[in-house]
Point group: C2
Chain length 253, copies 2
């Protein structure tokens, strides 16, 4: 892929993911969607709800990647500190955001927009809201950092609402093939040669284990569909030559 | 928790996780198990199969954390480069490991221990093997870095085999309570006060959404079970005071 392609980093902010309480599913969604819009995900960091770590990580990654997307830590409780940490990272005041304040104060009955909820309407100065069509409380963008909720259904809705603002590159396309009864170690030499002939592609090999039989899936990714298809045809020939009976696509779950 | 408690970092190495092809489940397992043995997981990085990134990340994290655990990239194919990158990070030769070589050469029929599979028996000089009771090909440890497979069932077996070598601290214990029909924003102020009274604990609040009703789960973590239980009793009283009917433990799935 081109050296000038935009890149993405995702920060998963939350003790509950690090402690094993919560299974993250946001990385898989964002990795797939970012590839589709040509902003390949290059790194993920999962970090705790600790101000110093969040500030340092935001600053390190926003300097290295075109876009940084954060999930988690924007609710009303004491452990929701992402927003104020992003303000600190950018060196701007953390202050009531008029538009967010209006949205949230209208959401609750009189007296319900309490100090805890007012924190959800407090943002880095200059932040632009990211709409939350699920549960109102918005995310925000500042610079190249996009701050979203951690709850998957809310994060997904926020991400889709901000996609039109992102400048993507060529979509990353994927072609796959799989074969049962052939081992990775048998396929490896020929597969390495195919990768060497297609340096513009990222060819990966993934063993699978199924009650119906084990095997290997090979995935070719890149921005050139014809190249990915050509490489997969070569992989199919290799699998045949090794006595296998390859089938297009990923193995069934 | 004590400032001298050991810490862990996990590196998930693999394009397939960043592209969204593969749902990682190793972080959840390792986060839970490391907490149980008193080596809390402090950071995770998910990085691509790129030598420069792997080398830099291994060196940065092994300097910051007591233990670094990697998963992925130790198979026989061209994209399996974790082992040689760890050698480069430590500045030692990457060379045949006699014990691994013996294990793997005995595993295959004559001629089957081909150059691709020989790569799985090639390791940083000074590496100590991590047993693989599932599929033979071992992981290894060097310094404070533990290199494991990415396939979950193999990684789990490798991790359990190396646990006796790790110097853990006090186990991180967890107590939970949940309530339906109370919102996080209502609970937040009182919960913040409880956290402030128990600075030795990490108290987290997690909204849940279920067909049977939405609510909030609160989890108190720390090395002192009595303190965690005392905090949860205070949270229960708070939930009651707000009109809820709290139930011990996490909400049912």
């Amino acid at each position: 892929m081109s050296a000038s392609a935009p890149t993405a980093c995702v920060l998963i902010i939350g003790n509950e993911v690090l402690s094993g309480r919560t299974q993250d599913v946001n990385v898989k969604f964002l990795g797939a969607r970012l590839g589709e819009i040509g902003i390949p995900l290059r790194e993920v960091r999962i970090i705790p709800d600790l101000a110093e770590i969040i500030v340092t990580t935001v600053n390190e990654t926003r300097a290295r990647f075109t876009y940084v997307f954060t999930t988690g830590g924007i609710g009303p409780t004491h452990d929701d500190i992402t927003s104020e940490c992003v303000a600190a990272a950018f060196g701007v005041p953390w202050e009531p955001h008029p538009e967010a304040w209006a949205l949230l104060s209208a959401r609750y009955p009189p007296g319900g927009f309490n100090p805890a909820r007012q924190r959800m309407a407090t943002m880095p100065r200059g932040a632009r809201l990211i709409e939350n069509p699920v549960s109102v409380a918005p995310g925000f963008e500042i610079g190249n950092v996009f701050v979203m909720a951690g709850v998957p259904q809310v994060m997904r809705a926020m991400f889709e609402s901000l996609v039109p603002r992102l400048e993507g590159g060529a979509p990353v396309l994927s072609r796959a093939i799989h074969v049962a009864g052939v081992q990775e170690g048998t396929l490896a030499e020929g597969l390495g040669a195919i990768q060497a002939r297609h340096p513009e592609l990222d060819i990966g090999s993934y063993p699978f284990y199924r009650p119906a039989g084990n095997g290997v899936a090979v995935v070719a990714k890149g921005t050139d569909a014809a190249a990915a298809e050509a490489a997969i045809v070569e992989v199919a020939a290799l699998m045949h030559a090794l006595g296998g009976d390859p089938i297009a696509g990923e193995p069934p779950p």
